[in-house]
C-alpha cells in the first residue's frame, strides 16, 4: 500500500529559491506515456553535462548524499508548470519528503497525491538544517506525520502544518478517486438540480 507514516533518513541540501518544474524535469523528457524511469531524468541539466555524463559536482550523484530520502530546498519550490512528472521523478529517484521554506501550490498538491510529503518549515530552521547536513551528511532527520513533527539531527523538534484531510489520506493510503466516487449520489443530484446532465 502507498502510504506515509514515519520516515528516518538522511537528507540532501539543495537550498535554492524558486526551483521550477522545468529544472526538476526538463520538458524534453515529458514525451512518455508512463511514470516509469523518470528518476534518471531528475534535475537533468544540473546533473549531466553536454555529453550526457554525470557532472563531478552533481550533488544528486555524489557519494556524500547517496541514499538521501529527504530533499532540503528554499522558497517557492516547484513553481512553474503543473507537470506531475516533477513529483514522479523525485519519488522515482528515491525522495520521500521535501523540507522547504515554501512550496508552489500545484507542486504541493501533486506531491501529496504521490505520497511525497512536502514539509514547510521557517527559513532560519531550513537554513540551519542545510548547514548541519552539509557538514555531516550521515546525520538523519525523522519525520512523524501523525504528530506533524520533524526531529532534526540536534534533536530539535519542529511542528509542521498539513490539512487534516490530506494527512489522513497519507497515513491511511487513501485515494481521492475512491473518496469522491463514494459521493456519486450527491454529484448526480447536483447535476440534476442545475440541468447539467448530459445531453443524450
Amino acid at each position: 500500500m502507498n502510504a506515509f507514516t514515519t520516515l528516518t533518513a538522511t537528507a540532501l541540501p539543495f537550498l535554492k529559491d524558486d526551483i521550477d518544474t522545468d529544472q526538476i524535469i526538463p520538458a524534453r523528457f515529458l514525451t512518455g506515456t508512463t511514470k516509469a524511469g523518470l528518476g534518471a531524468k531528475l534535475f537533468y541539466d544540473w546533473r549531466y553535462d553536454d555529453q550526457g555524463q554525470i557532472k563531478a559536482e552533481s550533488l544528486f550523484d555524489s557519494t556524500r548524499f547517496q541514499g538521501s530520502q529527504i530533499l532540503i530546498a528554499g522558497h517557492n519550490f516547484g513553481c512553474g508548470s503543473s507537470r506531475e512528472h516533477a513529483p514522479w521523478s523525485l519519488k522515482d529517484f528515491g525522495f520521500r519528503a521535501i523540507i522547504a521554506v515554501s512550496f508552489a501550490d500545484i507542486f504541493y498538491n501533486n506531491a501529496l497525491k504521490n505520497f511525497l510529503l512536502p514539509i514547510a518549515l521557517p527559513e532560519a530552521v531550513v537554513q540551519h538544517l542545510a548547514q548541519t547536513i552539509e557538514q555531516d551528511p550521515s546525520q538523519t532527520i525523522t519525520v512523524n506525520l501523525a504528530e506533524q513533527c520533524v526531529t532534526l539531527p540536534n534533536q530539535e523538534q519542529h511542528h509542521f502544518e498539513i490539512n487534516a484531510f490530506r494527512k489522513t489520506c497519507l497515513l491511511e493510503g487513501l485515494d481521492d478517486i475512491a473518496f469522491v466516487l463514494a459521493h456519486l449520489p450527491q454529484i448526480e443530484a447536483y447535476e440534476k438540480a442545475l440541468g447539467k446532465t448530459a445531453a443524450l
Partner: protein, 471 residues
C-alpha cells in the same frame, strides 16, 4: 440579504457539490480540457481501475505540446511524441471524447481554442493538466491548472477535491501609456509582487486599465497569473466579453445567448466584498517590459539598467541575481536595451492570437529581420492561422524573413524540435524564462509581440517607443 461576495466566491459557492467536514470540498467542473502530455497516465489509471470517463461530453481534447509546427503531411519523426499523440487519439476514441487533432480545423493550443470555440464561458469552473489554464479566467471563469492525478479524478468524477483559495485584488487604474500592452502589465505586476507573490490566492484583476483591455489582452494577463504563483486569475465579464463570445460555435446561440448574458452580468464582485489581499497599481507607472533573469519575476523596464547586487537586501537574493545574470550573460548596471539576440519567437498561449500577430506584423511590415536572427511566428490555432493568412499577415512575416509555422506550443516549451540552441538569446512572447525552458542553455527574454518584432529587425533588444528614431 446575503453577505457581499467576490467574483471568486460566487463561482466557488455555485460549484460546491459537497463540503467535507474540516476538509476540502468536492467541486464540480464544468469543462475539462486535455492534451497529449499530461493525460496518458490519467487514462492508464482509469483503465487500471476499470472505470469509464464520466462526462466525455464536458471533456475536450487537442494536440499542442508535442506536435511539429512544420509540414504536417509528413510523419512525426520523434517516436515518443508519435506514441504520445497516438495514445491521446486512442483514449479519446475509446471514451467518446471530442479531439481536435492536427487534421481538424479547430486544432490549436488548448488555451487558445477554448475561448475561440466558446468552450470557455463566464462563471464556469474549468481545469486542464496545464498551469496556463489560468488564461480562461479572462472570461470570468474559475480556471486553473491541475496535475495528472487530478486529471484522472476529473475524468472519473467530473469533480475535484479542493480547499478554497484566498482572494487577491490587483487593481490597475489609469490609462496605459503608448507602447504598453497586457504583456507589459503582467510582467510589471509579477516584478512587483514576485514569483511567489500570489501563492494560495486567486487574483481578480480590476480597475480602469484592465477594463480597457480587449479579450485577447485579458487572456494574456490572466495567462501569466500562475507566474506569480496564483492558483487562477480572473477578470469579471462585461460587454467586451459578451461581444467576443457571441456566435462562437460552443457558446449559447440566439435567445439562449441573451439569457446567458443576463446571468453573466451578475458575475462581479459585490460592493462591500472583501479580498484577503489588495494590490493597487497605476497604469502610468508601467513601461514596455523585458525580463533580465531566469524567472518571470526578474522583469524590468526596457529603458532601465540591469539590476546590481546592491539593489537587493539579502545575501540569498544577491546570489540569485548574480547567478541569473551570469546565465543570461548580462552586466549589472548596464542598459538592457541593445542586448544582442539570436532568435525571436512570436507565439505561445500567452501571445499567439490575432491581436498579437497584428501588433507584430505592424512592426515588421516592409522591414527585414536582421540577417543573423532566426524569427519564428507560430499562430495559436488553425483558425488564427487561416485568419492571419486571409488578412495578409503571414505574407508580411514571410516577406520580412520570418518562418510562418503550423499552430502549437512550439518554442515556448521546446518539446517538439523547435528549440533555441545552447547559449543563444531569444526575445520571446512566451511566459517562462526559466533556465533551459526553450532548450538546454537557452537564454530567454520575455517581451510583448511588438517588442519581439522590433528585436527581430534590430537584432538586439530595443525600446518599442524609440527604436526607429535611434535606428
Amino acid at each position: 440579504m446575503s453577505a457581499p461576495k467576490t467574483l471568486y466566491e460566487k463561482i466557488w459557492d455555485a460549484h460546491v457539490v459537497h463540503q467535507t467536514e474540516g476538509g476540502p470540498a468536492i467541486v464540480y467542473i464544468d469543462r475539462h480540457l486535455i492534451h497529449e502530455v499530461t493525460s496518458p497516465q490519467a487514462f492508464s489509471g482509469l483503465a487500471a481501475r476499470g472505470i469509464p470517463v464520466r462526462r466525455p461530453d464536458l471533456t475536450t481534447a487537442t494536440e499542442d505540446h508535442s506536435i511539429p509546427t512544420t509540414d504536417r503531411s509528413k510523419p512525426i519523426e520523434d517516436e515518443a511524441a508519435r506514441t504520445q499523440l497516438a495514445t491521446l487519439a486512442e483514449n479519446c476514441r475509446k471514451h467518446g471524447i471530442t479531439l481536435f487533432d492536427v487534421a481538424s480545423n479547430h486544432q490549436g493550443i488548448v488555451h487558445v481554442i477554448g475561448p475561440e470555440l466558446g468552450l470557455t464561458q463566464p462563471g464556469m469552473t474549468m481545469v486542464c493538466g496545464d498551469s496556463h489554464t489560468s488564461t480562461h479566467g479572462a472570461f470570468g471563469a474559475l480556471a486553473f491548472g491541475i496535475g495528472t492525478s487530478e486529471v484522472e479524478l476529473v475524468l472519473a468524477s467530473q469533480c475535484l477535491l479542493q480547499a478554497p483559495s484566498k482572494t487577491m485584488e490587483i487593481r490597475v487604474e489609469g490609462t496605459l501609456p503608448l507602447g504598453v500592452t497586457a504583456k507589459d502589465v503582467i510582467l510589471y505586476i509579477i516584478s512587483k509582487i514576485g514569483v511567489g507573490g500570489a501563492t494560495g490566492h486567486v487574483i481578480e484583476y480590476t480597475g480602469s486599465a484592465i477594463r480597457s483591455l480587449s479579450m485577447e489582452g485579458r487572456m494574456t494577463l490572466c495567462n501569466m497569473s500562475i507566474e506569480a504563483g496564483a492558483r487562477a486569475g480572473m477578470v469579471a465579464p462585461d460587454e467586451v466579453t459578451f461581444a467576443y463570445l457571441k456566435d462562437k460555435p460552443f457558446a449559447p446561440q440566439g435567445e439562449a445567448f441573451e439569457t446567458a448574458c443576463q446571468r453573466w452580468r451578475e458575475l462581479k464582485t459585490d460592493v462591500g466584498a472583501k479580498y484577503d489581499t489588495q494590490v493597487i497599481l497605476q497604469a502610468e507607472d508601467i513601461e514596455p517590459m523585458v525580463t533580465y533573469g531566469t524567472h518571470p519575476g526578474m522583469a524590468m523596464k526596457i529603458s532601465a539598467m540591469v539590476p546590481k547586487k546592491d539593489d537587493f537586501n539579502t545575501l540569498q537574493e544577491q546570489e540569485e541575481l548574480l547567478a541569473a545574470l551570469d546565465y543570461m550573460k548580462l552586466e549589472p548596471g548596464h542598459p538592457i536595451a541593445g542586448t544582442p539576440i539570436d532568435v525571436v519567437f512570436i507565439g505561445s498561449c500567452t501571445n499567439s492570437r490575432m491581436e498579437d500577430l497584428r501588433a507584430a506584423a505592424e512592426v515588421l511590415a516592409d522591414k527585414r529581420v536582421a540577417s543573423h536572427v532566426r524569427a519564428l511566428v507560430v499562430p495559436g490555432s488553425a483558425e488564427i492561422k487561416r485568419q492571419a493568412e486571409a488578412e495578409g499577415l503571414s505574407q508580411i512575416f514571410l516577406d520580412a524573413g520570418c518562418e510562418w509555422r503550423e499552430p502549437g506550443c512550439s518554442m515556448c516549451i521546446a518539446m517538439n524540435g523547435d528549440v533555441v540552441a545552447p547559449g543563444q538569446a531569444c526575445a520571446s512572447t512566451s511566459n517562462r524564462n526559466f533556465k533551459g525552458r526553450q532548450g538546454k542553455g537557452s537564454r530567454t527574454f520575455l517581451v510583448s509581440p511588438a517588442m519581439a518584432a522590433a528585436a527581430a529587425i534590430s537584432g538586439r533588444l530595443v525600446d518599442i517607443r524609440t527604436w526607429e528614431t535611434h535606428a
